[in-house]
Amino acid sequence: MKRIGIFCLILLFCLAFSVGCKKETTVEKQDYFFSHQSVRVTTDDAAKPLLDALGTPTERIVRPSCLFGNANDVLYVYQGLEIETYTKDGIEYLYNIELVDDTADWKTPEGIGVGDARGAVVKAYGEPDSVSQNGTAVYNGKDMTLNFFYTGDTVTRIAYRKNV
């Protein structure tokens, strides 16, 4: 009787332990990065280093807020590249980074640019986590997604977007 009791206890102990161990294997998703010169950034990072490295934009558009006088989102347009930022506590952070066309030959650190074929994307990034309604390949990061827009089998836009 007592032996059975001990056995049960040990069993319970192992069970409890295995429950505790479950947490061990969760691997956190990694964000995708964009790089330019020595700057390596993703969404929600401070925008200043990237903007400094990119120099003067061809266009800078402010998005006004619904509340009068509270504008804090800005779009910086460069040749073939668009950067969107938001401001919190006086610091500008990256919201979106988009490679919009092939006029300036921007590439992701993995070597993909607008105009590349679907095969090249899959080779560099693997199969997408999901494919959206309009055929966009979506790769999930921790707090962002990397999106490849296609026309046919050709990449037409690459977008790093903060999750909202």
Partner: protein
């Protein structure tokens, strides 16, 4: 002995009553007053100062209603009495519950709903929630509105007792907080928040492509609820999209198609004013105060003139200027409206 007991109970009760009164007063004092700056936060409260007036039309939506339609113009030109219940980033469910809230006081003939906020399927922003909900009068409707609106970080209790949210404002109290402690005078003109500045629209850039264009199921569900509620109360529901369309707040054709389908399926009128801008007479170099995102008062008056005609001709709204009582009320409103417009234009 008994008398001592009684005295004790009375003293304790007195202390508790004083405590309750003190907390109520503190609650009132610490709530943001939204008078100097962020006057958008007053919009919900403003409605309750005008519930005795008959409103034929109720506008619902976000800034695309309270910056686009001017009720005084609608009255002056068409004799249509209206009210706008819009707030900054008013989400669909908030529009729905504000409609329910309105029905506690009156039943308008027409509800005009601006569809832009349908793009949001989940609660978005604490600050906007606060501005929309905090000054709603207490009722079961308010409870539902809170439940539908709060973001993960917010607590339900802090809406019932906003002191829990705003307690640390004791450090930031200003003259306004005391001046407007008991002042409920409106900041808007029947829900219209006047902006007279001019900042021309310079960019015609379209919104970035999306990965998914379907409007969220949850927001479409509330639109459906709104339609059914209108149906039940004999109210005609009209859908509109304000004529502004700019990079930061782009209205995608794919969304428009979904609204068109929904309107057609349910026999509703849907007016998308974006392609009508020229017909309305809008000039985006002069009719906007923030580079094309919102209309200024000049733009809003043009749109209101245009829409008033539609309301009269397509939806048979009566001219109420023969009603002397109502006329008198509106006369005052029109004067105040003109005064503010001129005062600010100078």
């Amino acid at each position: 002995m008994k008398q001592i007991q009684l005295k004790r109970w009375l003293a304790a009760a007195a202390i508790l009553i004083l405590l309750a009164l003190l907390l109520c007063a503190l609650n009132r004092l610490l709530l943001p007053k939204y008078r100097s700056g962020n006057t958008e936060g007053r919009l919900t409260a403003d409605y309750y100062t005008d519930v005795k007036t008959r409103h034929q039309v109720l506008f619902l939506g976000d800034c695309e209603v309270y910056e686009s339609f001017t009720p005084p113009t609608l009255w002056e030109e068409y004799g249509i009495s209206s009210y706008i219940r819009g707030n900054a980033q008013q989400l669909v469910w908030q529009s729905y519950y504000l409609l329910e809230d309105t029905l506690r006081y009156e039943t308008p003939e027409v509800v005009v709903f601006n569809v832009y906020a349908l793009k949001y399927g989940t609660p978005q922003n604490e600050a906007y929630n606060r501005m929309t909900l905090d000054s709603m009068k207490f009722s079961p409707v308010k409870l539902s509105a809170i439940r539908a609106s709060i973001t993960e970080e917010e607590s339900f209790a802090s809406y019932l007792f906003p002191l829990l949210r705003f307690h640390s404002r004791w450090k930031e109290l200003t003259q306004d907080d005391f001046t407007y402690l008991f002042d409920s005078s409106p900041v808007s003109h029947n829900g219209y928040l006047m902006k007279t500045g001019v900042e021309p629209m310079t960019s015609s850039r379209a919104g970035s492509p999306l990965t998914d264009y379907s409007l969220p199921v949850s927001s479409m569900e509330y639109l459906e609820k709104m339609r059914l509620l209108c149906l039940k109360n004999g109210i005609e529901l009209i859908l509109v999209k304000s004529p502004t369309n700019s990079w930061g707040y782009w209205w995608y054709d794919e969304w428009d198609a979904q609204i068109n389908d929904y309107a057609a399926k349910n026999g509703l009128s849907y007016y998308n004013f974006i392609p009508e801008a020229e017909k309305i007479g809008l000039d985006f170099t002069t009719d906007t105060y923030d580079a094309g995102v919102h209309l200024n008062v000049s733009g809003a008056e043009k749109l209101t003139s245009y829409f008033g005609k539609i309301l009269r001709e397509n939806h048979g709204l009566e001219d109420l200027r023969f009603d002397s009582g109502l006329s008198a009320v509106w006369q005052e409103k029109v004067v105040r409206y003109q005064q503010e417009k001129e005062g600010l234009l100078k």
